[in-house]
């Protein structure tokens, strides 16, 4: 806390984006980086609370007040070191995290919270720019080998931690490039893929081995390769089975899962991938409806605009959230608030409390959606409000293309998981004990595969925690941090 009264002197100032008219024409990062001075000023607003709720609400326990203070004092190198102590990939969270911390910021009680996420990003980008981020030499090796299956944020952070603890780590990825959801789920305008490559280069130099296009879900391989060659295995394959909308007309052409849509777009942008005409999914000139009001939906909206959609509509079954906190969601809890992303700023229409009743088409091709307005009622004895359709509120939306962004169900059980015979919880996720260990000896799990669909920051947290327990499993005790 360089300046204890900083919050009274400076107001919150968020990052700005490139102009809409410019940014919709490309897939490059929409954010503008901010000047050093502004970072300092924003960091000076941090009060270095005796009970830092920001740090408390952060799944990985970022030491937020500490690095805010260091940024304020231009101690970038130290800020970087402290940031890195809790977060393996601040360049991802700094861009993608919904920032639970900012909702818990004490300043947010009666003022605007500190721009924590952007401060984090400023530090890590400063770090890359000034060469702070470099491969470390791991001085002593334990001789133990660990396989990490899946290369999303959970798998990568787990691998990074275990490697630091001196274990030999091999990461297996079924796709042809490393990164999982980071690479294929998130559009470049939010996370340019060079950001991932930059980090991977370091991890490789530090000794992590990456095996891509490694389809280890074939029974023999999983048995032989994993069980015999490795002292431990961490399953971090994510939760990729999408939730479907099984209503009339679902078979029509022009209805896609968001992840299929985004993955293809990402591959086209990042890898120069050219899909075959039959698999080609593109919004150019189309009327697009995105079903699902969450972050994935928003990414689809942004992607569709960039592909040149003629119009984009996003619908959500839940009512429009409040813009500000209410008593029912008091500080410091993470509130459900109306979120307007950069993609929303770029155009399109949003509808709330709308239920899709059926897809309608001509010649097997989608033309319209039939929808109805709904209301929700609190009912005694039920945790969730009950939904009711509003009579006479039926309406239709024209659509050439519909994207289902209504979430994910569970990891794929077929193949690897079933072959390994790991147990599942009642939601279909891999079940572990409190030490991240599955029902199978040597086998651990982390990330969405274990906890279900969640945030990048939770994935990193899972990766770190599981690494601690794997290390402890292998060595009897662990000096890897546990938070």
């Amino acid at each position: 806390m360089g300046d204890p009264r900083g919050f009274l002197k400076s107001a919150r100032q968020s990052n700005s984006y490139r102009e809409v008219c410019e940014r919709v024409n490309d897939f490059k990062d929409v954010s503008l980086s901010r000047p050093e001075k502004q970072s300092q000023e924003q960091a000076s607003r941090c009060m270095d609370c005796g009970t830092p709720f920001c740090h408390g609400s952060c799944p990985i326990g970022n030491y937020i007040p500490e690095w805010n203070d260091l940024v304020f004092r231009k101690q970038w190198k130290k800020a970087f070191e402290i940031l890195e102590a809790a977060n393996n990939f601040p360049e991802f969270t700094g861009r993608l995290c919904p920032a639970l911390c900012e909702y818990a910021c004490v300043l947010g009680i009666n003022d605007d919270p500190v721009t924590i996420r952007e401060n984090e990003l400023a530090i890590i980008e400063y770090g890359f720019e000034h060469g702070f981020v470099k491969p470390k030499t791991i001085s002593s090796r334990t001789g133990k080998r660990v396989a990490v299956v899946g290369s999303g944020p959970a798998g990568l952070s787990c691998a990074d931690q275990l490697n630091k603890a001196g274990h030999e780590v091999v990461v297996f990825e079924r796709d042809n490039k490393i990164g999982g959801i980071l690479r294929y789920g998130i559009p470049d305008f939010k996370l340019e893929k060079s950001i991932i490559d930059r980090r991977l280069a370091i991890l490789k130099k530090e000794g992590i081995v990456f095996e891509t296009s490694a389809n280890i879900s074939v029974g023999a391989i999983s048995d032989c390769l994993l069980q015999k060659d490795f002292d431990a295995i961490c399953l971090a394959g994510g939760s990729r089975v999408p939730r479907d909308l099984k209503i009339e007309g679902r078979e029509l052409k022009g209805i896609y899962f968001a992840m299929d849509y985004l993955t293809q777009s990402n591959r086209r942008v990042g890898e120069g991938f050219k899909p075959s005409p039959t698999n080609f999914i593109d919004a150019k000139g189309k009327k697009v409806v995105v079903i699902g009001g969450g972050d994935t939906g928003s990414d689809c909206v942004g992607t569709a605009h960039r592909q040149g959609a003629s119009c984009v509509t996003q619908i959500e079954v839940l009512p429009m959230p409040m813009e500000c906190r209410t008593d029912s969601q008091p500080w410091p809890r993470y509130p459900i608030l109306l979120k307007t992303t950069s993609s929303h700023e770029e155009g399109g229409v949003r509808h709330w409390a709308v239920l899709t009743k059926k897809f309608m088409g001509e010649n097997g091709v989608l033309k319209k959606l039939s929808c109805v307005k709904v209301e929700f009622f609190e009912t005694q004895g039920k945790a969730c409000p009950v939904m009711k359709e509003i009579p006479g509120s039926r309406f239709e939306i024209e659509a050439d293309m519909a994207i289902l962004a209504v979430g994910f169900l569970q990891p794929e059980h077929e193949g690897l998981l079933n072959n390994l015979k790991v147990g599942f919880d009642n939601r279909g996720n891999v079940k572990t004990d409190s030490n991240y260990k599955t029902s199978v000896e040597k086998v651990f799990s982390a990330g969405d595969m274990r906890r279900g669909q969640s945030l990048v920051v939770w994935a990193i947290s899972e990766g770190r925690q599981s690494a601690h327990f794997i290390d402890k499993y292998l060595m009897g005790e662990s000096s890897l941090p546990l938070m």
Partner: protein, 1515 residues
């Protein structure tokens, strides 16, 4: 080895070693040595007139002990000897003494037989016994029950004795030998046995009596042939009420009023020296004198033991006393070199026996009295024209014709009154000291032998640096937080870091993080029985200087006795340590002992290393080494360091047990210590010097890392200064002035360490619940080390986060964490009981992370016998909430809206809110239109006395005397000027912008009888309000509480050491004070044992949050419960811990206007919260089958230790002492059922009020005239309260009530005197005149017939006008110490003052027409003093830290002129007249003393804005 008095044995949490006493002391004597019976009568009269300074216990007729010591009344003894058929030899050739003997005939015979045998074996002649007649009808039941048989023994001088003195020595040997035999015997009734004295010069009559009973009990005293030229008298006020016939004073040579704080260290010190004792006077008899000190005696008895040894081995009376109780010589600019050399020489082999002490001493020929260096006990004397002297704790203890008075004086700090009855004269202090200091060429000896440490230069300057600082830091447990929160501010600002809020993290033994050994110890502190010292403002009495190295026989004096190394600063730099290592002067040599062990040997290596270093130390002594360096420099990946504290204490105790400790100095070179608390522990357990090398490297590291941008040299200097200032503060907290006497004094309590660990390595330290063993400590040390190097291998280049001062996810657990805070706020705002239950679960269920002592408790069903009742049967929430109070948070520490919100809420539920220190705006006394009231029911009286007016007191339901505060017990506070806004200044009756300092002690409470006096004063001010006393939990608090109960307090609050604060040093928040569970339980048990529980209510507070907490408090004995932090959180506090920065973003703890507007708390929230707490409590009560809280109090049998939660490392924990129920008679009350008798029935004011009826009801002037004496105390206070209540505050016109008194008034004359009342006193008076005077006028002048010069004689006592609010005072005569201390607005004229005049003054005007003592104006931040400096010496006696001296300005002339005019008008002062007659010339002799800050404000200069965020230490 214990003495024989009959305190209950150690049981539960009660431990007799913490019994305290304090007293009234006095003597009368005929200077010419003329013996008379009148002297005896007068001595007895003095005793009776001091009786209000003694106390009575549960049994109203049993006193705490009283007695007299006189010269042997030869004439009388001859007479009675004859009656008993004993033939006495000539006077001086027989010795005698009063002996307490067992009731049992056989036991008594055995004792007498021992006398026969030993007298004979020592070559003396047993003459016989005489039964001493007593009248037991007058004494109390309790005393009666343990009354011994009184007999007098007569012994004739043997032929081997050639002088009276050698006979006296022989009698000493005989007494010691008999005592040793009987103590070691297995007599059933040996506790009855006691030899009061055995002497051929003096004789004492004493016993477990009230002062007034002495003359009736001992029938001898009725005989007129009992004659003496001197009579020393003593009346004891003990905290306990257990019969102790043998602790009555006077002892053999002295009588003591006060307390020796450093006792443990002194006792160890004497023990360590016993081996070398040798004296030509005793020869082989010397062995019979050991042990010199009888363990278990009171501090006074112990000092008498040592005093006696020094005297009889050849040192004169005055010499011995100067050795034990030296003046503050270190920084005294006025002391001559010879005397300084004397003190310096003796400091080489005797540490001061430190503490508040007025000691009267006599050897039967000379008699005298001395005051400790601080002058903390009162001692007034009168010398008459006919060679009579009376000295006593008070003036007016004998009626002396004023015309006869030659001198009316007081003993000054460190000074001596000495009367030589043989040569028949009073020897002046300076003469006696000159005589003693010239006895030997001490100066020459010092310059020959003493080596100044600063002269040591090492050729090889050390330049060692850790290769891998990060790993070293980790191995020694440093965290990022240590660097940021502790070391950085110390290096940057040279000050100990300050924090706020309380301690909600686990105690070391409960924590699942590896703990430093230091964290298991808590600092003890002074409360009530002795005062803390202000080490900043009164630094002239403080000293860090040490003389280290091998010692010699203390019974001799030789040039070699001062062959020591003189160290001014005990924190050594690396270069200084190198100098010591290479020392080769005059045979000094140094041995380094390495305190680390091979990492591969693990726990076994740990304990072996401990043994090894002890042997090595012993061997080093044999080899003649003078210094031992205990070093962990060189510990690395392969070598683990022992905890430095353990190593130090292990060797220290090993050597004490071998009685060789005084042969060598122990210097610690360690990476481990870094905080003030660490240093204090090392010194407290025997280290002579410490070199914290890694902490120094850490400072350098912070500079390299650009965390600090100052020069390394400056940073290190700052860091060391922060340490030394901090050490001084810790000393002063205990009331100790010199590091020399603190060293080895072990003023700590261990919490959660096992008995065998303590017994072996920290012998004598209190540890009450057992806990972690040596193995556990070894494991923590080893794991810390292992982790450090493993992390290095992993490339982790950062330290752990810490999380002790600031909550961290991966840090230490805190009960106040985001989750618990959020739930509590939700619950109370939305009145959501489910959320409250979630909150309560988070706090109550600490099975995963135990934090508090109570977390390990569970409710017991007593083997299935507990029958639950239905919840409807339990008393309602509304009843329960009346027992709730909020803690003392001052308006100043929290914002006005927050303060008022609490008051409104508490008034709504019938609970009590507390003003905290700092007064209360009278507007708040008026009820609001909607029926709410912002008035705080509890009005606190703290040491600063801010805003404590008569109106404030009258408007209280409870008046609370804050002795200590959990977060910083024993420390004062400071509200910096920038925080003193208009409104704060108004409520505190000061000037905006002026810094307000609260002194560490109440300057009118230096001992238990002083507290009783303050309680009496406050009761007078508002007889309807109850008076409570707030104490902080520490070992012995129960004993203090017993004393407080005897002082007539209605309620005692036991605060836990974890409680919150607006600002305190971090080390105090963390390491001072103990949990309330211990303090409360100890207090409840001790009060039960004393049968005092029935008279007083108990409250407890300190991090109480839930109904379960309340239930446990009730079961452990509390009737009422205080809440603090939880209430703040309910109002919006989110534990920013920024209170000390005035920067609270939610407007709770700030005075900043902008931030206060952000406050969003509401009274409803608090009401909701308390409902929930009470409801939760009801559920618990129902489950325990209890219907009312009254039934619940003290039912500790309903609690048991939950073994399943106890952490592995602390498996040895034992709560049986906490849950103990004392074995007392069945009808002993378990809770308060009686009202205290406050003794108000006979106060003079009752009469005054009657006489003032016209003034009170019709505002008509009243004039009164009456006599007064010293037993009339707090005169005018009740009247003032009445004036305030009936007429309103400040309504009465000046002089409406005029009272003229004649005589010597008692203490607190005119305390809180209201406006409209004028008190005129012809005569003199005692301490605390006009304390808190609230607009009245006090005039004091000598009796018209007295002929002494007013400006050279004392007319009023110490601490006059303490906390004066406004009014006028004209004193024709001089005052004692601390005149006008903390004056807010009084205008006063006086003709001379003692030390510390105008200390902490914040306003008003004071004119001093004569000499001042030293340290004038210390801590003075406002007001102006005008000192008439005739001889131009004032400047040297003034403390110039905060004030400027200048010439009188034109604007001052009127003030001075008018005040002097009044002074002359009222008192006829000759001095005033002389000045007025020549005013223009005389004004030039006045010096204007004005605080720098105050001057700037007067001149309209604004205080710099940048001060805005300096830390505040108030509240």
């Amino acid at each position: 080895m214990k003495t024989n008095h009959s305190f209950p044995k150690k049981q539960g949490l009660y431990d007799p070693q913490f019994e305290r006493d304090s007293c009234g002391v006095g003597f009368v004597c005929n200077v010419k040595g003329e013996k008379s019976n009148a002297i005896i009568k007068q001595g007895i009269e003095v005793l009776a007139r001091l009786s209000h300074r003694g106390a009575v216990g549960a049994d109203p007729k049993t006193g705490d002990g009283a007695g007299i010591l006189i010269q042997i009344p030869d004439e009388f003894f001859r007479k009675i000897a004859k009656d008993n058929k004993i033939e006495l030899p000539e006077k001086g050739l027989y010795g005698t003494g009063l002996i307490f003997l067992p009731q049992d005939d056989k036991d008594r015979e055995f004792c007498k037989e021992v006398f026969n045998k030993i007298i004979k074996s020592n070559g003396q002649v047993m003459l016989g016994w005489r039964k001493v007649p007593v009248d037991g009808s007058c004494i109390g039941k309790c005393a009666k029950a343990t009354e011994p048989v009184f007999e007098q023994v007569f012994i004739a001088k043997g032929e081997n004795i050639d002088s009276e003195l050698s006979f006296e020595r022989k009698l000493y040997v005989i007494r010691k030998e008999i005592e040793n035999i009987i103590r070691e015997s297995d007599l059933n009734q040996k506790k009855y046995f006691y030899i009061t004295n055995l002497s051929c010069r003096t004789f004492s009559y004493k016993g477990l009596l009230m002062p007034g009973q002495v003359k009736d009990f001992f029938l001898d005293l009725k005989d007129d042939s009992v004659k003496s030229a001197l009579c020393m008298a003593h009346s004891r006020y003990s905290t306990n009420t257990f019969p102790a016939w043998d602790l009555a004073q006077p002892f053999r040579f002295l009588a003591h009023n006060g307390e020796i704080n450093t006792l443990r260290g002194n006792v160890n010190g004497i023990r360590a020296r016993e081996k070398l004792l040798a004296s030509e006077f005793f020869g082989t008899d010397i062995e019979k004198l050991k042990p010199v000190i009888i363990e278990g005696g009171s501090d006074s008895a112990v000092i008498d033991n040592v005093f006696e040894l020094l005297l009889l081995s050849g040192r004169p009376l005055e010499h011995a006393i100067m050795m034990l109780i030296p003046e503050a010589w270190e920084h005294n600019k006025f002391m001559n070199k010879e005397l300084k050399d004397f003190y310096k020489y003796h400091a080489c082999f005797m540490e001061p026996w430190d503490g508040p002490a007025a000691i009267a001493f006599t050897d039967g020929k000379n008699i005298g009295a001395v005051l400790d260096r601080n002058g903390l006990r009162p001692a007034r004397y009168i010398i008459t024209k006919n060679d009579f002297v009376v000295m006593a704790s008070e003036a007016g203890v004998l009626d002396i014709d004023p015309a006869d008075i030659k001198v009316s004086g007081r003993i000054e700090p460190g000074k001596m009154l000495f009367i030589d009855t043989e040569s028949g004269r009073i020897v002046d202090n300076s003469e006696i000291k000159e005589r003693v200091s010239n006895h030997s060429p001490y100066g020459k000896w010092n310059s020959q032998s003493l080596v100044d440490f600063s002269k040591l230069v090492s050729a090889a300057a050390s330049n060692q640096k850790s290769e891998d600082i990060i790993s070293s830091l980790k191995a020694f447990g440093y965290t990022r937080e240590d660097l940021k929160t502790i070391i950085r501010p110390m290096a940057l600002e040279g000050k100990e870091p300050v924090g706020s809020m309380g301690n909600d993290a686990p105690h070391a033994f409960l924590s699942n993080k590896s703990q430093m050994l230091y964290s298991y110890f808590k600092q003890l502190f002074a409360q009530v029985t002795n005062p803390a010292i202000d080490s900043i403002r009164e630094k002239l009495v403080m000293s860090l200087e040490s003389f280290i190295g091998p010692e010699k026989n203390i019974l001799e004096e030789t040039p070699g006795h001062s062959h020591k190394l003189r160290v001014k600063n005990p924190i050594l730099t690396d270069d200084e340590l190198q100098g010591l290592r290479d020392i080769s002067i005059n045979g000094f040599k140094t041995k380094t002992i390495y305190i680390f062990f091979d990492a591969s040997t693990g726990k076994e290596g740990f304990s072996k290393a401990l043994e090894r270093i002890c042997f090595e130390a012993e061997y080093a002594i044999e080899k003649g080494y003078s210094f031992i360096i205990l070093s962990d420099r060189g510990s690395d990946r392969d070598n683990i360091a022992l905890p430095a504290l353990l190593a130090t204490s292990a060797i220290h105790h090993y050597l004490v047990k071998k009685t060789t400790r005084s042969q060598v100095a122990l210097v610690v070179e360690s990476a481990e210590p870094r905080e003030v608390h660490h240093m204090a522990l090392l010194f407290g357990y025997g280290a002579d010097c410490v070199n914290p090398y890694l902490a120094h490297e850490a400072v350098a590291y912070l500079i390299e890392e650009k965390e600090i941008r100052i020069e390394l040299k400056t940073a290190l200097k700052n860091y060391n200064k922060a340490l030394t200032d901090g050490i001084l503060k810790i000393l002063s907290k205990m009331g100790i002035s010199a590091l020399r006497s603190y060293r080895g004094a072990q003023i700590f309590e261990a919490l959660g360490l096992s008995d065998d660990l303590i017994e072996k390595y920290f012998t004598g330290t209190v540890s009450r619940i057992g806990g972690v063993s040596l193995d556990g400590i070894a494991e923590e040390t080893i794991s810390r080390h292992k982790d450090a190097y493993k992390q290095k291998d992993m490339g982790m280049s950062y330290l752990a986060s810490g999380g002790v001062y600031q909550w961290k996810k991966d840090g230490e657990f805190h009960l106040w964490n985001p989750e618990s805070i959020a739930n509590l706020q939700d619950a109370s705002r939305n009145n959501d009981i489910e959320k409250y239950k979630e909150f309560a679960r988070l706090i109550n269920d600490q099975s995963a992370n135990p934090v508090t002592l109570r977390s390990l408790l569970k409710f017991s069903d007593r083997g299935g016998t507990v029958m639950p009742v239905s919840i409807e049967e339990v008393e309602p929430v509304e009843n329960i909430m009346k027992r709730f109070a909020t803690g003392a948070m001052s308006f100043g520490s929290i914002s006005r809206p927050a303060h008022e919100t609490i008051a409104i809420a508490m008034n709504r539920i019938g609970g009590k809110s507390n003003t905290g220190e700092g007064g209360e705006d009278p507007n708040r006394f008026v009820t609001l239109p909607n029926g709410d009231s912002r008035r705080s029911a509890i009005k606190q009286v703290a040491s600063g006395r801010f805003g404590v007016t008569i109106n404030y007191l009258v408007n209280a339901d409870e008046i609370q005397i804050k002795i200590a505060q959990g977060a910083k017990p024993g420390e004062g506070g400071q509200l910096p000027g920038h925080k003193v806004s208009e409104i704060i200044a108004r409520t505190r009756y000061t000037t905006p912008g002026v810094t307000l300092i609260s002194p560490p002690p109440h300057h009118d409470i230096y001992s238990i009888e002083d507290l009783a006096q303050l309680i009496f004063d406050l009761k007078n001010a508002n007889p309807k309000a109850r008076v409570s006393v707030k104490l902080v939990s520490e070992i012995g608090v129960g004993t203090v509480a017993a004393g407080v109960a005897k002082g007539h307090a209605d309620m005692i609050l036991i605060s836990g050491g974890d409680g919150g604060t607006g600002a305190s040093p971090q080390s105090s928040i963390k390491y001072a004070g103990l949990p309330w569970e211990l303090g409360l339980s100890e207090t409840h048990q001790t009060l039960m044992l004393n049968n005092l529980r029935s008279r007083v209510r108990l409250q407890t507070d300190g991090q109480i949050r839930t109904g379960r907490d309340v239930a446990i408090a009730a079961l452990l004995g509390a009737e009422e419960y205080g809440f603090c932090t939880a209430v703040l959180i309910v109002m919006g506090c989110v534990m920013l811990r920024h209170c000390h920065l005035n920067n609270c973003s939610v407007g709770v703890a700030t005075q900043d206007d902008i931030l206060q507007k952000r406050f969003s708390g509401k009274p409803e929230y608090i009401v909701n919260y308390f409902h929930f707490v009470a409801e939760e409590l009801r559920q618990i009560m129902a489950s325990l089958g209890i219907k009312t809280i009254d039934e619940m109090i003290g039912r500790s049998d309903l609690l048991e230790l939950d073994e399943s939660i106890v952490p592995l490392k602390a498996k040895g924990i034992d709560y049986s002492r906490i849950l103990y129920k004392p074995d007392v008679p069945g009808n002993t009350a378990v809770r308060c059922v009686l009202k205290q008798d406050s003794g108000l029935d006979n106060v003079l004011d009752k009469e005054l009020i009657k006489m003032c009826k016209d003034a009170l009801t019709k505002n008509k002037p009243v004039k009164i005239s009456m006599n007064i004496n010293n037993t009339n105390r707090a005169t005018g206070t009740m009247l003032s309260g009445e004036v305030c209540k009936t007429c309103g505050d400040g309504v009465l016109l000046e002089d409406t009530i005029t009272c003229k008194f004649k005589g010597t008034a008692g203490q607190s004359f005119g305390a809180f005197l209201a406006k409209g009342i004028t008190f005129e006193l012809e005569g003199m008076t005692n301490d605390y005149v006009g304390k808190g005077i609230s607009g009245g006028k006090i005039i004091v002048y000598p009796d018209k017939r007295a002929q002494y010069k007013p400006d050279e004689n004392v007319i009023i006592g110490n601490t006059a006008f303490y906390g004066a609010i406004s009014g006028e005072a004209y004193i024709c005569g001089t005052a004692g110490e601390r005149f006008c201390i903390r004056n807010s607005g009084l205008y006063a004229v006086v003709e001379g003052v003692g030390d510390h005049g105008c200390e902490y003054m914040t306003g008003g005007r004071v004119i001093i027409l004569g000499k001042t003592g030293r340290n004038f104006g210390a801590g003075m931040s406002g007001g102006i003093a005008y000192v008439y400096d005739e001889d131009k010496t004032f400047k040297q006696r003034c403390n110039l830290d905060m004030v400027e001296l200048e010439e009188v300005k034109t604007g001052d002339r009127d003030t001075i002129y008018n005040l002097l005019n009044n002074h002359f008008k009222y008192t006829k002062s000759k001095k005033a007249k002389a000045i007025l007659d020549n005013i223009n010339e005389e004004l030039k002799k006045f010096i204007r003393v004005i605080p720098i800050e105050y001057k700037r404000i007067l001149e309209g200069v604004k205080i710099e804005e940048k001060l805005d965020l300096k830390e505040a230490l108030d509240g």
